[in-house]
Point group: D2
Chain length 304, copies 4
């Protein structure tokens, strides 16, 4: 497959289609980003690399980091993890709190905020220094020691911050958070502030296409079976209220973030990261989503 050619053609197509949508504005650090930036990087499990556009510009990966915290907690706890968080899609976001009440404090999945906060609580219990140890884990996935948190992003206080504090206190009232809420939320806000380029994100993600082994240092992170399960969770839960639409139109396991990034994998073949900051009404990158739909149509590859 000539990935570079297909990436280039698709990239040009998308560039010429306009750029509707809006940059996330709930924290100033995201609101000031130039919406017309657009980068792509694909890395195969054989370490072949293909890219286009602003693939070397760092951006805030936001919720995409939830995949890494999930992988780290799953590596430590295995299936016991599912006592604390479920693996079901969550339906409309408007009912997230009522659903938490119905489910007695067990979040629907680790990709929504409530679930990711519980994962942070679990890691806070397991790790000596959660922020340091988690960053180390991410650096080992990518073989890249320059990856870091963006402290300005982590420290932004806003409505979303209060919503997350509401979620954490609500979950705590059911006993499903064990550590100090401020510590857990500080970890969570740091996790979401990770900054990467498209290339770095694709490199960090590629272990999920590679049966759970990193390309860099060849470490086993997860077993092949565990890797499939993480991919399954991304497929059903990775795109907020558009998980079905993404699966329907793209057909790859992936995860998006409100910074405009999307990372996805074709199992046993490649990982791909796209970044374009303008978001649709569901909080997913307009160009990222569109790129992946056209790209998978052109390659004829999907998991289905």
């Amino acid at each position: 497959m000539n990935y570079q050619k297909i990436i280039d053609e698709t990239y040009v197509d998308i560039l010429s289609s306009g750029n509707p949508g809006k940059v996330a504005t709930y924290i100033p650090e995201l609101g000031g980003v130039n919406p017309d930036q657009f980068g792509v990087h694909l890395i195969t499990v054989n370490n072949e690399n293909y890219s286009a556009g602003d693939s070397e510009t760092p951006f805030s990966i936001q919720s995409i980091a939830k995949v890494f915290s999930l992988a780290m907690a799953y590596k430590h706890l295995g299936a016991k993890l599912w006592d604390r968080v479920d693996v079901e899609p969550s339906g409309n976001p408007f009912n997230s709190l009522v659903q938490l009440e119905h489910d007695e404090g067990i979040p629907r999945n680790p990709m929504i905020n409530a679930g990711a906060i519980v994962i942070c609580d679990i890691l806070t219990t397991l790790l000596d220094e959660p922020k340091r140890d988690f960053l180390e884990f991410v650096r080992q996935l990518s073989g890249n020691n320059s990856i870091n948190y963006d402290r300005n992003v982590a420290e932004s206080e806003d409505a979303t911050g209060f919503r997350n504090a509401a979620l954490a206190n609500f979950i705590r009232s059911f006993g499903n958070i064990k550590n100090d809420i401020d510590v857990v939320l500080d970890f969570y806000f740091h996790l979401c502030s990770l900054s990467m380029t498209c290339r770095e994100l694709a490199e960090t993600f590629v272990f999920l296409a590679n049966n759970g082994r990193t390309l860099f240092g060849d470490r086993r992170v997860l077993t092949p079976s565990e890797t499939k399960r993480i991919n399954a969770i991304m497929l059903t839960c990775g795109f907020y209220d558009e998980a079905g639409e993404f699966t329907y139109r793209v057909g790859l396991p992936g995860k998006s973030g409100v910074g405009g990034g999307i990372a996805a994998v074709q199992p046993l073949s490649y990982s791909i990261a796209i970044w374009s900051p303008s978001l649709n009404a569901h909080g997913n990158s307009v160009r990222g989503f569109e790129f992946l739909e056209r790209f998978t149509t052109r390659t004829g590859e999907s998991i289905f």
Copy 2:
């Protein structure tokens, strides 16, 4: 009307009916209370007093204090208050959070926790020293300087505490709390910890039967029209999910607390306080509710 005779007869009736229900156990300070205590005090607008049973034993008035904080905020702000909190009954408690979302952070009424927390936020903005000034206000209502907070109750941390923190953060995310959440909640927990006897509670409440004037010192707290409106809110919203049932069976404006207290008024006539710690499934005093139903049936008085 021979109130003493009717109180005595009703008291004996209720005593002989058994005492089903359960004491609130969510904080140790309430869980350890003897469930068989039972007191009544009625005070008329002419300062005639009638009582029965444990009417001189102090108890935790809990949510009944929300009436006093509402009165204080209403006295300061008048109808502007309703920009921050509504006056509608709230329906089932299970949907309180989803309703807050639907109503964009405006609580349904000042008698539910969400509304009382917003009132605390308003008073935090208005008062120099909220806890001190509010206590002074309550003491002036009753002409009784010995009324005080119970610090053990105020400091109890529990699941309910986390739920209230969840509510406060959620409301804050809509911008309807202006002050530091910890300060507002500390005030709220103190307010709910007020300790009074039945006599003291009836004395503090009687201004609502007296067109808004205290009996003690004859101070005007609210205008007659404002007083009617507070009474109207108690009638539609004073008994959690049993407000309709209480109105239907008793027919007086009133407010209950999970400490087992109920205070009610017959406008222009009297206020009455009952205390018995065993609660029904809706969190209202079993004997208090029953006493008031039989008492108003015997007197033939209700507002309808």
Copy 3:
């Protein structure tokens, strides 16, 4: 009290305040009504009558009829009625279906559609010919044999009709409707189609101000205690999502309909009916609500 003078002054005030709001348009029979019509009629328990404006023009009383069906079912069944329908306010209409699910098919109160449909089912079981017998009951309340259904209104099929069919089938799935759904709904649609003038409506309502006795023929419909309880239900549940607001601002038990009518009672004193078709966002008559607030302020009378 010079009711005529106060009515006249209030009427003129309201006329000069503009007439915002919108006529209900969901069935053509209501949508075609002239929005500027405005009538008032007050009748005391001594049969003194006062009126203003279009008090002799017939209009569709719609949901106000739910009070009459409730009274009829309560007269037959007494407190057993509450096994089938509750007496609690319902909160926001948006959650009516989810609340029915939570409450296993028991509607929150007899003033919302779900509850009124259950009342119709109960009457269908109790009565030989429900539509005929219910009309007879209403005619006896008012001493007026010319009151009738408006068949055009009853037969209008629309979105509201499908919603009511959805409610009825949902309740039926919990076993809380016993008769054929089409029969029950046909009865319900007829009930809502009752046509009356303000004078006729006030005359029909006045038994609720008169301890449960009609003025015309002096029949006992309900005991004084039962009458108080119906009034209590109107107070907490009579104005959809504005029951608290109406109680707060007007302070009388009453019921509104989307035809623009409002009927209310001052117990032991009078009933009053106002009609003006323009509705506010909650489906209550703009001028009717405003008239009653100013009227009760001027008379200084309310139940509080």
Copy 4:
């Protein structure tokens, strides 16, 4: 891959694991089924066949038929179909009605009852004789003219019937059902009553593993791209509130029914049907789910 060996070993494993769960009892036709029946049939895209147990006993496929009605409607309308029904997972069933209200009558996906009823409405508009034409379509998929509705099942009236009537009326109130509700529901109840053996079900399903072509008569039903999309919808929405769990543990697109059947596909490889009537709390076959998890673990095949 030696499918027969793996099927046999897995079958024996499951047989020895006990058979918890309960047969669906909401209609007598399902409640009377022997819970210990257990059949499996796998058919490859090369028409190789493997089976075990009661693979030739007919059972009620129930909701699995929703895949066939979706395929038929999609074949006729293409992407226009998505104006009437969405492709997102639905979250907890308890909020299905409130979600329909939020989404203004557009069901979340075609696999839940609300969505399948809208598909039936669409087919009612498109087809001359919906019940006859749909049956013909299913017979062509399988090359088997003996497949038929079970009229006893179709005619069972029960609580579920009233719930479906509630859904249909509710959707109709938003204008998203165009035909007579009784006609649409009659079609829907027939569709759910289809009776097949495991072999027949696997044969009918195999076009979804075969790029959209039937094995029998080699007809093109859907394009390869359309086929992938149907599979994507099954993956995210095929197992009620356990879609995430099934994807996580099995990793194949599939659909279950309350009759105890499950059908699934490994794209480009095979379709498999399992039947065992005992259901778990989510309404999915206990043994069917367990069989597929162990089977895919043994084969090492999944789409991830």
